[in-house]
């Protein structure tokens, strides 16, 4: 499977996690792996935003009036955003829909589309790159890192900064070592660096775990 074929199945991968071919491509293609990581992150963040409370109906009313003034919203085309309808039979108040949810979902879709449009598959360069030069920031925290930092922020806020800095450094180390090892699989020195990088990360996790024990 090449990058183009892989990208055609992206929606399916984001939704269901993908299949065997997709996984094997992800293992070998850093660019696609980075793209999938970014898209999953966007999707996760969008989900987190959905349960937020709606703002005051006056906000929607003002937006509606502004849109009408600008001629972007014809009269009678749709009910006012965030409008609360009263059910005449049951006399209970129900929200007909969640406008902020729709707005956020729309934002997520737009962000998704922007990433797809701007995404250009590229071959890995022959010379090793540093993590700092890599387009997808390898120092960003994965879900495990985020969970660890979140736990530390609750239990030991003083230590949070030190752990964040260490994890960033170690993630950059792993990313650089992976690039070096992939650019020359026969290079034993690069393999040793990669192993050391993973051991460093393991150590940070072990220290955090030991700290969190009662």
């Amino acid at each position: 499977m090449n990058c183009q074929q892989f990208q055609e199945t992206l929606p399916y991968i984001i939704e269901s996690g993908g299949g065997g071919d997709d996984e094997s491509h992800l293992q070998t293609c850093l660019s696609c792996a980075s793209l999938v990581r970014d898209l999953r992150y966007i999707a996760e963040q969008a989900k987190l935003l959905l349960p937020m409370h709606d703002p005051n109906p006056r906000v929607w009313s003002n937006i509606e009036q502004s849109l009408k003034r600008e001629g972007l919203l014809p009269e009678g085309r749709m009910p006012p955003l965030g409008h609360i309808t009263k059910n005449s039979t049951s006399q209970t108040e129900t929200k007909s829909w969640t406008p902020l949810g729709w707005a956020l979902a729309l934002t997520a879709v737009i962000a998704f589309a922007v990433v797809l449009i701007n995404y250009k598959p590229r071959q890995l360069p022959q010379v090793p790159l540093t993590a700092q030069n890599n387009a997808a920031d390898p120092t960003q925290f994965n879900s495990d890192d985020q969970q660890l930092i979140s736990q530390l922020s609750q239990q030991s806020p003083d230590a949070q900064g030190a752990y964040e800095a260490s994890l960033r450094d170690v993630n950059a180390y792993i990313a650089d070592a992976e690039l070096a090892a992939k650019s020359d699989p026969g290079d034993t020195s690069a393999q040793a660096l990669l192993q050391d990088a993973y051991e460093q990360k393991e150590m940070v996790y072990q220290m955090a775990t030991a700290r969190s024990l009662p």
């Binding site: 170690v170 020195s189 051991e199 940070v204």
Partner: protein, 290 residues
């Protein structure tokens, strides 16, 4: 007797200072205990801030002295039935939330020969001097110092804590640190391994003992200073960093890699009895003569 104003003021000040100091020290509680421990046993010490000093002692008793800096923390002693394992654990008392200063405990532990020691702290400094046993030391930010140890296994882990080893001979040494500087002076043995992410590594000594010396870093600098008598088979390689050599090495007839000017070099000195590997991703590597 009538005192003049100036001497009286001085006396009053001295008394006030004395009272204040006494009050400050009144919160410190020093405790001492002797614990029988089986030969070949293990001591585990877990603490937050303060300091931990380990010394070597004779006999079969563990001598533990510690000073609590507030009444909000205590030290639990757990001893296994067969006395093979002793645990000293610092913890806050239920319902108490001590500040960093209040949570500090200063330990002074005398360890019998052959008893292994594991210490884990967050910010407490750790010093091991002359301990004649396997030691494992771990601290996030507290300085770790190990001196005068022979024929042992020393494991050190730090996050940003500086690590200093001096006169650790004929030992196996494993050090990992993400951001702390690691300084080794006269550290020798069958295997000396140091790995850091951004911390610098400094080695001063002759790498004797026919062992394997492996110093690895991502972005930290590696500085190795060898005496002319050093007998080493040395390789230095950096993926993106600079490599400099100012130590007289004989070129090897065969290398496992192709040396690149400024990125790697290899060579031997004297009979080349110890293997020395220096590796970095972007950190600078320098080898020089003592």
């Amino acid at each position: 007797m009538k005192l003049d104003t100036a001497p009286r003021a001085l006396l009053l000040t001295a008394v006030t200072v004395y009272i204040c100091l006494s009050a400050a020290h009144a919160t410190d509680t020093r405790k001492e205990t002797k614990i029988d421990i089986a030969a070949g046993g293990t001591v585990n010490i877990v603490s937050g801030g303060g300091s931990i000093a380990l010394h070597s002692g004779s006999g079969h008793q563990l001598l533990v002295a510690y000073t609590l800096h507030s009444a909000k923390v205590e030290v639990d002693q757990n001893i296994s039935a067969n006395r093979q394992r002793v645990e000293l654990i610092t913890h806050a008392l239920p319902g108490e939330k001590p500040t960093a200063d209040e949570a500090k405990v200063d330990y002074d532990v005398t360890v019998p020969a052959g008893v292994s020691v594991n210490v884990s702290t967050t910010s407490a400094s750790i010093t091991a001097d002359g301990v004649n046993a396997e030691i494992g030391l771990s601290s996030e930010t507290g300085q770790i110092t190990v001196h005068n140890i022979a024929k042992s296994h020393v494991r050190v882990r730090s996050m940003t804590a500086p690590v200093n080893l001096k006169d650790v001979t004929m030992s196996r040494v494993d050090i990992q640190s993400t951001g702390g500087t690691v300084q080794l002076s006269n550290v020798t043995g069958q295997r000396v391994s140091v790995g850091t992410t951004s911390g610098n590594i400094e080695y001063l000594g002759d790498c004797s003992g026919g062992g394997d010396y492996l110093l690895t870093t991502h972005s930290g600098a590696i500085d190795v200073t060898l005496p002319p008598t050093a007998s080493v088979d040395l390789t230095a390689r950096s993926t993106n960093g600079q490599v400099e050599n100012a130590f007289p090495l004989q070129e090897k007839s065969h290398n496992s890699f192709v040396p690149h000017q400024g990125r790697s070099f290899a060579g031997t000195s004297n009979s080349g009895s110890s293997s020395v590997e220096l590796q970095s991703f972007s950190g600078k590597i320098r080898v020089k003569k003592q």
